[in-house]
Symmetry: C2
Subunit: 422 residues, 2 copies
């Protein structure tokens, strides 16, 4: 059967030297005897020769002789991060309830900003006028920005995904917005973050294989487009391995990203409701396929136990809202487990939150005082609780770095769990 | 006509050496031909001889040659305060949205705690178990506590005042509570504040002369009872001059308090809705009748202009929720007037809140960033705004102390106003 091509649509992308790097097209036809124009094909083509070779920002310093845990450094425009590292989340150009000085004091090395939120408010162009996110928010250490993908999918029921990108509505005023992989890079370049993330699609859990495969393929094509439009700013760009809960898709996604070549590799679409064992299985099915001389980042994870299990399986970087969000809800992390500060048993408790902790909060305030502040909804409660929880997370990472350096990570891991069982 | 005394009620008060210091009684009678018992008289009697002579905690260091402004020091159990001084309000054992370290950095010398709020939550007995308010809240400088009077009257529509004290309901759970002048002293002794205030009655504005006179007399009797039950803890106790807007009542109240003898004298019942001129008139009608070798405290006042006018008229101490409350509402004080941070004109404003200010907020953050935080309701907005406003108030006091020391207070006052007119 013969089809007459009736129309073509698409877009071509050029690098800063005006070389064609990729193009995307859609073909339409009118079938014989019909008057209706139909989309019959779309494709993205890449001219691979334009890809520069990638030099890793990661330096390995120590490895466990008994598991995949490792210790190293990631070099960025705003300094070097010791890994494994936890990144406090600073969604709207502030890690909620603490100052940048507090972050330095409690041991944070790098923070995370949310591209989606900053794009909507106050806007990346405004931040660019201020010389970038660092100067705008008075944080001079490294910043990683996510791509906005996760927020678009999690905040937007009506987000529409096309080959070009994501159409969605602002959660603030309902305005129609569009974000393509190129936009995500340009916005993050305007923000001036040290580590940028490619725009990815989010695969719900559970998802069938076909659904997961399609979203993973699209993430791969978007990753390539992202890498190609990146300017030479020195900012790092990380690819994101999707693949749902399908080990072969994860492996395939990892290979595709390695073929493109990124400064680091992230695992996305985990901790989305699946059992812990399944998340760990996915880690084990993915991390070994990533180049071991590049940083590995497990996105949006997680509990203290998740961090220990992630490091055990070779992860270098983590982020999660849990320490700050739980702090604002009165849930505090301690070496022996979780503590709910509003509990009446703490009414007259003169002890600090964690007797093993040397954070500002534990050095100066009792459980009874923190309970009083929390019951009164005093702003200082959220401040002191956030400092404690972030310090707990950052200290946990420091302890793991020490254990790996001394090659006693397995002992550390055992002690970590046995303290919680007491 | 003859009345048969049918009953007597009352209470007697003894000092720590078991000497009778005062008693209070009520007489009831039954009129001839009646069966109804009627209250016909009540009285409080004091045995003046038990009053110890008072040594002032105040040392005058400098005075203006052109007005009543003066500079000095007030010695307390937790150190010496330079006056004139502004006291940030820390209602619930925290100055809202800042840490004790922030307070020291921004120049606060002494803070205020609210007896009413602490009595209700977490309770003075709990705080006493922690060794007092200082240790409980991690503030090692001087603390002044109010007596709870103002809060009982302002928060409680149904507060009932008797000769004994105030009956009221908790604003939290509606529980029936009672606070007499002796209780107010005992609670403040348990809190361990450096400066305690006597329980006073609050006179609404406007109030007729009779109403004002009665409340003023009662405040005087309560003041005497307060002084008499005070333990020898070294805590200072200040009397409160009421009198409504009647200069002769104010003068009479001052004389009564001086007769009892306090460590300092406060002006209560001002800034309750009266015109500014009337408040200043009351200051002028009262301050000259107070002993000039004792500290003078204007309670709950006020705007920056009020502080300048108060100092001009001889006031040494001030407190007000304005800098912290306005900060949380996005209203910032500057040398050239007030600034509403959410105003769209600050969207891209890279300047600090006040170019003449060297507070932490102004050194590190732009108006645009503070506007962004405020629009997003980020906790950091309240923190940074509170630091700025408190710093503004404390710096204003420091500038006044300097001007008085250099005997150029009138020039300072003129410059203060002309900056605001620009």
């Amino acid at each position: 059967m013969s089809y007459n091509l009736s129309a073509v649509g698409g877009e071509a992308f050029y690098d800063s030297d005006n070389n064609l790097v990729s193009f995307f097209f859609v073909l339409y036809s009118i079938a014989p005897g019909s008057t209706i124009q139909q989309k019959i094909h779309d494709q993205t083509c890449f001219l691979k020769s334009t890809m520069p070779p990638v030099r890793s920002p990661f330096t390995r310093l120590a490895s466990s002789s008994q598991c995949s845990a490792r210790c190293g450094e990631v070099a960025t425009l705003h300094g070097t991060i010791k890994t494994p590292v936890f990144m406090p989340v600073g969604t709207l150009a502030t890690v909620k309830a603490v100052t940048p000085e507090n972050l330095v004091d409690l041991g944070a090395q790098i923070i995370l900003g949310n591209t989606y939120h900053l794009f909507i408010r106050p806007g990346h162009e405004l931040i660019k006028k201020f010389g970038g996110l660092h100067r705008f928010m008075h944080w001079n250490g490294p910043i990683l920005t996510d791509s906005g993908g996760f927020q678009i999918f999690s905040l937007q029921e009506l987000a529409k995904i096309t080959e070009q990108g994501a159409e969605f509505r602002s959660h603030l005023d309902g305005a129609r917005l569009f974000l393509g992989p190129e936009d995500a890079v340009h916005i993050q370049e305007a923000l001036g973050s040290d580590i940028m993330m490619v725009l990815d699609t989010c695969i719900p859990y559970p998802a069938n294989r076909d659904e997961a495969a399609k979203a993973t393929d699209l993430t791969g094509r978007w990753a390539r487009r992202s890498r190609e439009v990146q300017s030479k700013t020195g900012q790092l760009l990380f690819g994101i391995v999707q693949g749902g809960m399908y080990p072969d898709l994860r492996r395939q996604a990892a290979e595709e990203l390695i073929d493109i070549g990124f400064d680091g590799y992230a695992l996305g679409g985990l901790s989305v409701g699946e059992p812990k064992e399944l998340m760990q299985e996915m880690l084990e099915a993915t991390v070994p396929h990533l180049p071991d001389d590049f940083p590995v980042y497990l996105m949006g994870v997680g509990t203290p136990e998740d961090l220990v299990e992630g490091v055990y399986r070779g992860v270098d970087m983590f982020d999660c809202v849990m320490p700050t969000r739980n702090a604002r809800n009165g849930m505090l992390f301690t070496s022996s487990g979780r503590l709910v500060i509003k509990n009446s048993r703490y009414r007259e408790d003169q002890r600090p939150v964690d007797e093993q902790c040397d954070c500002y909060t534990c050095r100066n305030y009792s459980r009874a005082y923190l309970r009083h502040l929390f019951q009164c909804r005093e702003i200082l409660a959220y401040h002191l609780n956030s400092i404690h929880n972030l310090h707990y997370y950052c200290s946990l990472m420091a302890e793991m770095r020490k254990a790996i350096t001394e090659d006693c990570f397995m002992d550390f891991r055992q002690a970590f769990y046995s303290q919680r069982e007491q």
